[in-house]
């Protein structure tokens, strides 16, 4: 399956998808030294985002997020790429500050067609996403 969307930040990456259904903030929802989600109330609690293709609906919360994203990148623990329903200014700034490939506004809702564990190829230069379902792998 190929999805088409908008470039948020340029670059290419591929890997295993990890999906959250709730808006994401880098401040408080990723631990830079591990890439894991540290908050017990989060649905991805304890799981690592490092090197994954991270799918979320949008961003939220504190203006500090881009600083945390930058530090997480320094630790080598940022997602390899992001697929977002639609970015808001703070999440967009985090993606651009950490400089990872990202797309949004796909022609199908990524939260409905991508599941955790699917293999995903993101070509943010072209704004395309290829999804290989885990059932087909």
């Amino acid at each position: 399956m190929i999805l088409k969307g908008r470039t948020v930040n340029f670059g290419k990456a591929e890997g295993e998808a990890i999906v959250t259904s709730v808006p994401f903030s880098f401040l408080g929802e990723i631990e830079p030294s591990t890439g894991k989600v540290p908050s017990p109330s989060h649905e991805l609690y304890g799981q690592s985002l490092a090197g994954k293709i991270f799918v979320c609906p949008t961003g939220k919360g504190s203006s500090g997020g881009p600083g945390i994203a930058y530090v997480t990148k320094q630790h080598g623990n940022m997602p390899a790429a992001m697929i977002v329903g639609e970015v808001e200014p703070v999440l967009a700034a985090a993606i651009l500050t950490a400089d990872i490939p990202a797309v949004d506004k796909l022609d199908q809702n990524p939260l409905e067609v991508i599941e955790t564990g699917d293999y995903v190829k993101v070509d943010a230069d072209q704004g395309t996403v290829e999804v290989i379902k885990k059932s087909a792998r």
Partner: protein
């Protein structure tokens, strides 16, 4: 996006790799949100939590920032050790560092770029006063919403990196709340006359703002039915909770906000829904801010946002000749310039003699006492909505809060009992 020749020079690396990185971030960011041009920045206000390596990368090759630039409140571990006798092993929330050397290195780097070490969330209290139409790139949501709502300046939804890049280049994309068409109210709140807003305490204003923010989410709001002679202090108690219970950073107080002399001016062409605010909503707001199980307390926090000199005067008048209970920490959030004025006026001496601790330059509600193990056993009282909200959440619900006006907080600090 249409760029000027100077914008292109910044983007092409003419002024070095830092200006290029900063400008690239701003142009890409602006294009995502429909900006057609960049505009000059009148004032950038930055967080010191932007990592040192990032500061270097985004300013490499620049001798100084191009915009007038100030710094937000800081966690200053050396100041705490030397003045408060506090050494922390860690801080909550990724807001700062407990390492004195990392902190000092970053501050000296920022100063070398002519970024002013103001260390306050409230630069408008120490001389950086926005005027209508000014373009501000502010980190810190209380300053952002107050600038839009009370001063009539234009401040968008910023972040640590975009505001830093704006400081370096002196430019920011024309988008969001910088454009008039995006500033109109999308939701109207009508304060019931029965609530007698003429006699609202500052805590009542805060509770009202907390309720409104929660309903508004990211939408711009207007409020009808408040007195048109709101002071700066009342206005910020009202609006500063809105970005913490919601993500609202534009509140038209009809009759107060420069661009909202009337309701129709506030809503423009929008046809927003009107919500009546009654006793019920005020009560719910107070309940959300009062989570303590008993009326005992360990700490009282005043000054989030940092106190104005008028508020320090009031606090000193209330505390003069009294003593803070020995088992209570009364922590007061204040900027250093205001502290100096409070000393000159004699207010600081009154407060310190009474046993209050004036915590310079730090985020008022997240002062080092909050992170001191064993210091907070029962509950913290405050007249600050942001204080109550953040103390509850940054502690993972461990810290219980009591919320009420400054008179009640001062009595609680003296007696160690909250009046139910």
């Amino acid at each position: 996006m249409k760029l000027t020749d100077e914008d292109k020079k910044l983007l092409d690396g003419h002024y070095g790799p830092g200006a290029r990185r900063s400008m690239k971030l701003l142009v890409q960011w602006g294009e995502l949100f429909g900006a057609d041009t960049m505009v000059d920045v009148d004032h950038a206000h930055l967080s010191s939590s932007f990592p040192t390596e990032a500061v270097k990368e985004f300013s490499d090759g620049m001798d100084r920032v191009r915009a007038t630039t100030t710094l937000h409140s800081v966690y200053n571990p050396r100041y705490w050790r030397e003045n408060l006798g506090i050494v922390l092993k860690k801080l909550g929330g990724g807001y700062g560092t407990v390492d004195e050397n990392i902190f000092e290195e970053r501050m000296s780097l920022l100063r070398s770029l002519n970024i002013l070490p103001t260390y306050t969330c409230s630069p408008y209290t120490i001389g950086f006063i926005p005027k209508p139409g000014d373009v501000l790139c502010y980190t810190g949501s209380s300053g952002t919403i107050l600038s839009n709502s009370f001063f009539g300046a234009r401040a968008g939804r910023e972040s640590v990196s975009t505001s830093f890049a704006a400081a370096v280049t002196g430019r920011t994309p024309l988008m969001g709340l910088l454009k008039k068409e995006n500033r109109y109210a999308e939701l109207v709140f009508r304060v019931d006359e029965d609530l007698k807003p003429e006699s609202f305490s500052e805590a009542d204003y805060g509770a009202l703002g907390y309720y409104i923010g929660g309903v508004a989410g990211p939408r711009n709001v207007a409020i009808e039915g408040l007195p048109s002679h709101l002071t700066l202090e009342q206005a910020r108690m009202l609006v500063s909770p809105m970005p913490v219970s919601g993500a609202c950073v534009m509140c038209h107080v009809v009759g107060v906000t420069p661009e909202a002399a009337t309701l129709s001016e506030a809503v423009g062409g929008n046809r927003p829904e009107t919500i009546a605010v009654t006793r019920k909503q005020m009560r719910e707001s107070y309940e959300a801010l009062n989570t303590a199980d008993s009326n005992d307390l360990d700490m009282v926090v005043i000054g989030c946002p940092h106190l104005t000199i008028n508020e320090i005067d009031e606090l000193a008048s209330l505390l003069e000749g009294k003593k803070v209970h020995p088992d209570v920490t009364l922590a007061v959030g204040i900027s250093r310039p205001t502290y100096t004025m409070a000393q000159d006026a004699g207010y600081a001496q009154i407060l310190e003699k009474a046993g209050a601790t004036l915590v310079n330059s730090c985020i008022g509600a997240l002062n080092p006492f909050c992170f001191l193990e064993g210091n907070l056993r029962v509950a913290a009282a405050t007249n600050s909505v942001r204080g109550a909200h953040y103390m509850q959440r940054m502690s993972g619900g461990v810290t219980k809060t009591l919320y009420g006006d400054i008179k009640k907080c001062v009595r609680a600090a003296v007696t160690r009992k909250w009046e139910a």
